[in-house]
Structure formats: C-alpha cells, structure tokens
Amino acid sequence: MYIPITVDHIARVEGKGGIEIVTSDEGVKEVKLNIIEGPRFFEAITLDKKLEEALAIYPRVCSFCSAAHKLTAVEAAEKAIGFTPRPEIQDLRDLLYIGDMIESHALHLYLLVLPDYLGYSNPLAMVDKYRKEIEYAMTLKNIGSKIIDYLGSRAIHQENAILGGFGKLPTRAQFEELKKELKEALPLAEYTVELFSKLEQYEEVTDDEMVHMAVKPRNGVYGIYGDYIKVSDGFEFPVEDYKKHIVEKVVEHSFAKHSFYKGKPFMVGAISRIVNNADLLYGKAKELYTQYKDLLRYNNCFANNFAQAIELVYFIERAIDLIDDTLAKWPIKERDEVEIRDGFGVSITEAPRGLLVYALEVKDGRVNYADIITPTAMNLAIMERHVRMMAEKHWQDDPEKLKLLAEMAVRAYDPCISCSVHVVRL
C-alpha cells in the first residue's frame, strides 16, 4: 500500500511550496518538493528596457532581499559597461548589503526556526513565554532595516543605489546613529549564538557528500562580493563561468529549475560561506567560530541555522568597521559619472540565503539579455535529498512527526520560494 504524506503548504518559509513523501510497506518511494508558486519571469520583463529602468525593477524580485537583488544587478550592469566603483563606494554597498543580511538572519532564526525547537506552531504563540527572544529578533531586524533605509533611501525596493554610486548618502550623524545602535545590538547577536548552540542538529541528514559553494571574497575579508566562486571540493572558477559549473535542469514537479555541480546537488548559504571562508572571519565572530567549530558541520544542513547566528555577530561587527572607515574618509563623493556602453557583465554575490547570480548584456543602453539565479533555486535539489534522508529515517514514525522534521529540514535552508506574489483570498 502506498501512503502519501503531504505538506500542502510549508509554513514559515518565504513563498509557497509543498512537500510530498510517498511511502509503501517497504519504505520511502518518492520525495518531491513542489514549488507551487508561479515562475517569475523577471528576466523577461526587463528585456529591452533602458538599463536604469531595469535596475529599478530588479530589487522588486523580493521585498526581503531587495538590497541583494539591487546591488547584484548594479554590479553586473557596471561590469557590463566597464565601470569600477571607488573603494569607499564599494564599502557603502557592502554596508547596505549587510543590512539585508542582519534583517534576514534575525527573522529566519527567531521567527521561523525557533518555534520548531520550542514546540510552538508560530512565533505569536511564543510571545508570552519568550517575549525577550521575540523582542531581540525585532531589534536585530530593525537595525538591519534602518541600514537599508538610510543607504537605500527606502525601506523596500531601494532606489538610492545607482550606477556609479548612490543618489545621496546618509549624513555623518546618521552613520554615527547606526554605529551606536549596531554596538547596542552586538550583545543580542552574541545571545543568539549562545541560544542556537544548544539546539539539535539532526543526525538523520548527515550527508558526507555535501558540496558547498560560496563567493571567494574580494580583498580577503569575509563578505559578500567576489570575482571567483569557491567550491568545498577545492575547485574555483571565475563568476563569468557560472553556466559551466552551475547547471540548471527543469524538473517535472516544480516550476523552479534545480541546479547541479558536476552532476550533483550542492548547497549555498551561511554554512557554505563558513565552510569555504571561515579563515577570513575576525573579531568576536572568529572567537565564537573557534569555540563552536564542532557545530558548524559541513555535512548537515541544520548547521546553516547556527552559521547564520555566527554571521549575525560577524556582520554587525563588520558594519561597525565599515562605518568607521567611511567616517575616516568623510566627506565622500556619492557617485561618479558613468558612460553606458555595450557589454556583458556577471555578478555573483552572497545574498543572505547564498549565491545570487545576475548576468546582464547591455546593448544601445538597453538590457539585451538577463539571467538571474537565486540561492533557493540552487538549493532545491539538495533540499529534496535531505528531506528524503529525513523520510528514510522516520517513515515508520507518526506522520505528523515526519511532516514536522521534513519541514524543519527545508526551513534550515531558509528558502525564499517566491517573493513575487502576495494576495488576499476571501
């Protein structure tokens, strides 16, 4: 007899997706991650648009990671037209991007992951007993959001990061305000590390074949931008060669393509950054990494949660350093003139959930070709493999327990299945 176990809608992930696990008397027959949200076609909508117009559209792919989409698209466009930003502008782009990182990690860890471990169905149910944790989540999220607001000029869908630099820069006083609040938030991030160090990483999904991909950070500082991709098997490739090494395939049960490296699934995200670049961490984050190294396991997707906690500390410290560097060079010219020429550019950055690819071709001032690959699309294949591993261990248990564990494995990847639709149904 075949028994389907279905999670129609995975709660507490971003977007709509489902899990289908089919078991029989002999064991697990089939596991599918069903992506039921429609595909986005953002590449198509920007074709033939003026480059600046297209750059205003890309951040709208996702209101949560709008800075990531905007900045990756801007870098791809600048590479296409042959422009390199000044170092101080690049620092401020890093800072804006870090706003996304802090906001996203705080929400994921406290509001999406923590309820599972504390036995609650949602964060609202936790609020009476774990008010402090919810308040910490919001404080951390808000400082990330404030960075985005000050540098992006809008809370969502930033317009301020433009070709050549920024439309305008925050004032010196605003930078100082951010620095003060980041310093106040640092102990909260350290508490997050302590809290998440106690949470179980499920042995059932131990996968020694796991391969991780991350950006090889430019200038030797753990971070977001780079010109090469590092793979945990020791291979490196320039971002321009991404299509040779990140191979997308259509799968029947999903609107989203699955991605493969050397014919196998791979992972991107916080744990992939740590696996590939931990030697570049510094400060308190480095100390915490050394202290908790055993929890940052390359072969367990649940380690992604703890890696995000370490990164919360790192990115707060990094943001403070970037502000110090900025203020030391103050005043800073907000942008340089750019000349829009024909060309092709690829940018791959580290979004909160992992590698984000933008490839743009510019012709006669317009977008002639666009290709976007999101981190969640890259993770789908390995996510499915780990749900299968969980199912193979628990297929004879209570189906509700299996459903929860399968969902937890998916949530560990912090997937953003689709950020493009939100509707109310009555």
Partner: protein
Amino acid sequence: MSTLILALGNELMKDDGVGLKVGRILADKGYNVVEIGTDIFRLQRYYNGEEKIIIVDAILTDKYKPGEMIHLKGEEVFEKLKAEIRSAHFMGAIDGLKLLMALDERLAKAEIHFVGIVAKEIGLGTELSEEIKSNIPNIIKVIENIVG
C-alpha cells in the same frame, strides 16, 4: 485621531500593486503612509503610536467584482481574514500584525481597519486593470473618510 496608512502589495504583479499605488496617491495628498510591500514587520520601525491603522491591499475573491472594495474594522479584520490574508512571505500579514500588537501596547489599543480592493488579475506586469484604475478615486475617498 492620528492615523498611519500601510500600503501592501507588489507593483510588478499587476493588480497586486493597487495597495502601493493608492498609498502613493494618499502620501502625495499629505497622509501618513508607509509602503510595507510584503513585510508587515516593517511597521514596527515606522509606528509612532498612531491611534488608527489602515491597511490597504489587493484581495482575490469571487464574492465581489474587480475594483470593488471591502472595509473591515477592529476584530472583524482578524476574524474574517484570519489566515486568509497571505503575503508572499512566511507569515500572513495579519499574524504579523498580531505579533507586533503583542509587543506594543499602543498598537494593541489602536483602531485597525482593512481596505481590500478586489483584484482582477495577479500576474507579471505593472499596469492595473481598467476596473481598478477607474475606481481609484472612489477608493481614495473611502480611505479619506476612514481617516476622518
């Protein structure tokens, strides 16, 4: 009574962008508007103790025609929408609002309104359907009346 208008939606998804577009018109008229997009938690950063919150968003329903509006107030918002109001993100906007209300006594006491505009089509595109476009002046009037 001080009022904050929250504009929800995604303007790249045709009628899903109506909340944002209505919000911008109201902002131009001087009302206190925050574009939330699909992240209700942004409310916390912009909330300054306003006594009235008006959420403007697109809805999908067969019960009304495209362009028509529903207006819910107080407990009705939570009762009628419950989990039905969905953002593209991890929590419904209403669940998110409840969480923020649990954290902020002032927000818990605020008068909550929901203005839902019936969408004709949610799909890739930046244009609103004619039915919605032609009703925008009326939608604005209704919201201005709620502001009082």
